[in-house]
């Protein structure tokens, strides 16, 4: 894992390969979604109606917008951010062609998280991780607040450019995909 000189116990962080080994053993079979975040495993079971509906609808609109491009829209695909992170964002737009295994970070064009009960996490820890790994465009859809937080200019310290758009205003991704945000519950 990582071996500094340790005389005091040091909490070991899991690496993607450790996580995949556990996943392959069925350790997470009871959960609908499992993510590796900073070397720790986080699990989610239930997704409620509003979160699911908004996610599905936005994925559909993004898919419509990718017509004629080589961009691909994936829902809840694992994105490898070695060595200690492998989140499963709600929506990932990636550059084709489709490969096997987790989505490679260098192919990611846009990540979208739809936040109903997890806004603090998505704007906080997740934004920090995505920025550190250079995700160029990261949208957090605040279902309760009916607005979208757009994160750009990633760096080690976070996203330097964050703007907030209320529902109703069309959004255009850095890769040029434009979608409406009207008529979301």
């Amino acid at each position: 894992m990582n071996a500094p000189t340790l005389t005091r116990p040091h909490k070991a962080r899991l690496r993607i390969e450790n996580f995949l080994l556990l996943d392959g053993s069925g350790a997470f079979a009871e959960f609908s979604k499992t993510e590796l975040i900073e070397g720790e495993i986080y699990v989610v079971n239930s997704q409620f109606q509003r979160h699911s509906y908004v996610k599905t609808e936005l994925a559909f609109r993004l898919r419509e917008a990718t017509r004629g491009t080589s961009l691909l829209v994936l829902v809840e695909g694992a994105v490898a951010m070695p060595p200690f992170n492998m989140p499963e964002p709600d929506i990932t737009v990636m550059h084709g062609p489709l490969g096997s295994g987790p989505i490679l970070i260098e192919t990611v064009s846009l990540i979208v998280e739809v936040s109903d009960t997890s806004l603090d996490i998505d704007l906080g820890r997740k934004a920090a991780i995505y920025a550190r790994h250079g995700v160029a465009d990261y949208w957090v859809v605040d279902v309760e607040g009916r607005q979208v937080h757009i994160h750009r200019q990633p760096g080690e310290a976070g996203y330097a450019g964050v703007s907030v758009q209320p529902y109703g205003t069309p959004l255009t991704s850095l890769a040029g995909l434009t979608i409406a945000t009207d008529d979301l519950p």
Binding site: M1, N2, A3, P4, T5, L6, T7, R8, P9, H10, K11, A12, L14, R15, N18, L21, L22, S25, A27, F28, E30, F31, T34, E35, I37, E40, I41, Y42, V43, V44, N45, S46, Q47, F48, H51, D116, T117, S118, I121
Partner: protein, 184 residues
């Protein structure tokens, strides 16, 4: 692992079987010691002389006074299902041939020798051992030259804790009496 209804991300705790799978894959090969504590993995590398000497000497003294039917081992994994598998410095247990980690039911006495880890051994480890019903737990404070004897375990910790200075002999619940002179 454990499946309540979760709409917010919930940090999953590893179970002993998950830990063993990772261990078998070589994930901890860089470390001298790996423990599963409350579902998290803790690793250590270096053991320094004072800790090593106190542990070896105390193990020797316990070995000399072992009655028939009891065994003594050092740094061996003890299974405390589902989320704990520590490797205490010294374990006194009922003699027997066990496969894999030591079963909790066989444990009579656990000893941790604390040089740089006194806070952890008196805190988190004591809570874990008490919760699993380890009947007796000694923490040897090398720097403070004393032994914290923990008895009467319960879900809330150890109800009976006494501190004995080096120099006073200690007798375990199982009847083993050892000198504590010159341990460090």
């Amino acid at each position: 692992m454990n499946a309540p209804a979760l709409t917010r991300p919930h940090r999953a705790r590893l179970r002993i079987e998950d830990f063993l799978l990772l261990d078998g894959s070589g994930a901890f090969a860089d470390f001298a010691k790996a423990e599963l504590i409350e579902g998290d993995i803790y690793c250590m590398n270096a053991q320094y002389y004072r800790h090593g000497r106190a542990k070896t000497e105390l193990a020797f003294r316990l070995r000399l006074v072992l009655p028939p039917g009891l065994a003594m081992v050092t740094e061996t994994a003890v299974a405390m299902p589902p989320h704990d598998m520590p490797e205490p410095d010294i374990i006194v247990l009922e003699a027997g041939l066990y496969e894999g980690p030591i079963p909790l039911a066989a444990v009579q006495l656990l000893v941790e020798v604390s040089d740089t880890t006194l806070d952890i051994d008196l805190g988190r480890k004591a809570a874990v051992y008490a919760r699993h019903g380890v009947p007796e737990y000694w923490v040897v404070d090398v720097q403070g030259r004393q032994v914290h004897v923990h008895r009467d375990p319960s879900g809330g910790g150890y109800d009976g804790i006494t501190v004995t200075a080096f120099g006073t002999p200690l007798t375990s619940l199982a009847g083993l009496t050892v000198a504590t002179d010159d341990l460090a």
